[in-house]
Symmetry: C2
Subunit: 375 residues, 2 copies
């Protein structure tokens, strides 16, 4: 527990940084990967498994939680931490991304977003002020501004319009956030893949002043090269003394490359979504358990992993569970992947702290090539 | 570990019995409820959770396992115990019930059953000899004879024909079982709801001689009254010194009533299937978490239960998970129900051992009436 939200930079290695974010509900070691708990649950995992895997913080989705069960309902039950039995830090997004990707018949105005729920078609309005109010009701430790997020490709004119709107919404969000000791409010840099727009967005946000800065509007179809270029263009315009969060990213390789460019925080549904679809992330790369070649393979995914889902179950059994559509298959692979992502982040942090991030980056990628091999 | 399969009757209280079955993979305290691990997994539970809930033994389905991944495939991987990470006793059924309830275009002859897989439509044959061979390959501790099981209603002539066929198959199964130290072979009493047929079936099986006797062909649509009557008619014809297993039963009330009539072993998919459908079994009866009245209820299912799924999660959260179709909802309720069934069996065993089964039976039923109440 700490009275004030803070970020301490503990070390750097090239462009990579390691540090510590302090929040009301505890500390976050960075670079950090936040498992996604969309509907107040990291899909297929018990909260204890998420914590034991090494996660310091998880992410909840404002869009989903406002629709079901509702922000006021969660507040009445004591807040999101208590509701989902997670007493460590929680970051909530603002709903902007899901309004773009999930909702129907959305309409964006200066005031905010009006959209239809993807669950029951009911009409909802989300303004910058309401997005902050919802996050305050949820009680999250890091609360994101409402932004307008575009899919790729889009015109430069659209990117500029959405970036400017997001900047005005940032100011309204910041005012609505108010003062919440131990909690932080992050602005979101937009501007598509345009270097000038990204710079203007970052400078605008820094002018307002936030506890942290996110890079939004990436991993939306532009591909890894353009994503990394955009990160490279954006990071120099963000304050060194504040955490930097790359939203919705990504593969293990995306993460290592973004860390090399100075990013501190990540979130992605990939570990659990891939797990539900029969894919395992391991030190030896991604393994597709649906593949018939695993049917007779008595080896575990990784005998040396501390995660039981990696170390104790045979590939043959996992293959059988996946082919049979069994819940346990989804549970084990979601667990294994969540654990692998945390193991990767620990490796990244340790290597930065000891000045051997470049070596770690190289060795980790070499190891991934051992890949999806049969006996 | 024990060299010989055995059953020790430790105590009786009225018609109810408590005892100990010894097998190659350990002991089974009776009355016992066997969680169903159809496809080599108790749906939605880690094997450790099944064990910690108090289960001494679980059931695997020959029909499912022969179709996927295959008996020879499991044998090549070291047997079913190793495959599914369960080192305690396993009972496998013979496939007869699933051929009746799941397969397509089945044809029963004197030789055996020919049927089409419900998975891919492929043609399979299951004879009494092959059913035993499969169970030997799986390595189960209790292996069931192949029988012909009828749905209710059926004609008495059909019941007699199927019972006589099952008796001839029992003899062939017994020969095929051979000698397997530490493992047991159970015969299955058939005969519908007809007292004479049940007696003839039981006497025929006792004449062959098995390590235990199952009562099959019940809980197939006849209702609780006829089921309990049939048990009452059948049990007197079974040897006191052998375990008695009522197949596919049932609700907590069915179990208590069958125990009162001298049954020692049970299996049913109800705890996990109900759990996947939003229903919780507790000391206070069955609770339907889908019901809107639970939305604001911060109480757990049962604060005094040793199972975290009962004690640590609010009804409001469980309601939210069920409504949202989240895996964690299915996981928690399947776990809670599996734990409740084992708690019930422990209560039954302890009450028989201390001579107060009647009191336990009465109090437990009274407690269930407190039921599905809101705050």
């Amino acid at each position: 527990m700490t009275a004030e939200f803070s970020f301490t930079l503990l070390g750097t290695d090239g462009g990579a940084r390691t540090g510590l974010v302090r929040t009301l509900h505890g500390e976050i070691r960075t670079p950090a990967f936040m498992p996604v708990g969309t509907a107040a649950t990291v899909k297929g995992l018990y909260p204890e498994q998420v914590k034991e895997a090494g996660a310091d913080i998880l992410l909840g989705n404002t869009y989903h939680l406002m629709l079901r069960p509702g922000a006021e309902e969660i507040a009445a039950l004591g807040g999101l931490h208590k509701f989902m039995r997670w007493d460590a830090p929680i970051l909530t997004d603002s709903g902007g991304f899901q309004i773009m990707s999930l909702s129907k018949l959305r309409k964006i105005t200066e005031q905010g977003a009006v959209f239809q729920s993807h669950i029951d078609g009911r009409r909802h309005e989300l303004t910058p002020e309401r997005a902050m109010e919802i996050q305050r009701l949820l009680g999250s430790d890091i609360q994101m501004q409402l932004d307008e997020c575009l899919m790729y490709p889009h015109t430069e004119a659209d990117a500029e319009r959405a970036m400017q709107l997001s900047l005005r919404w940032a100011e309204r969000s910041r005012i609505a956030f108010g003062r919440q000791p131990g909690r932080g409010n992050f602005g979101i840099v937009q501007g598509g893949i345009n270097e000038r727009l990204r710079r203007e967005s970052a400078e605008g946000l820094v002018g307002i002043g936030f506890e942290g800065y996110a890079i939004g509007g990436l991993a939306v179809g532009e591909g890894q090269n353009l994503m990394l270029e955009t990160i490279t263009h954006t990071v120099p315009h963000l304050p060194v003394a504040k955490p930097r969060y790359l939203m919705g990213v990504g593969t293990p390789e995306d993460i290592i490359e973004a860390v090399a460019r100075g990013v501190d925080m990540f979130d992605c549904v990939m570990p659990t979504r891939s797990g539900r679809h029969g894919q395992a992330f391991t030190r030896f790369g991604k393994i597709n358990l649906r593949n018939a070649k695993h049917a007779g393979d008595s080896r575990p995914l990784d005998a040396e992993s501390p995660c039981p889902a990696h170390a104790h179950y045979s590939r043959a059994y996992l293959h059988h569970l996946v082919r049979s559509g069994e819940l346990l298959g989804m549970m084990l692979l979601s667990w294994a992947n969540t654990a692998y992502y945390q193991q990767l982040m620990k490796g990244i942090r340790d290597s930065i702290a000891t000045g051997c991030f470049e070596e770690f980056r190289h060795q980790t990628k070499e190891q991934w090539k051992k890949g999806d091999v049969s006996v």
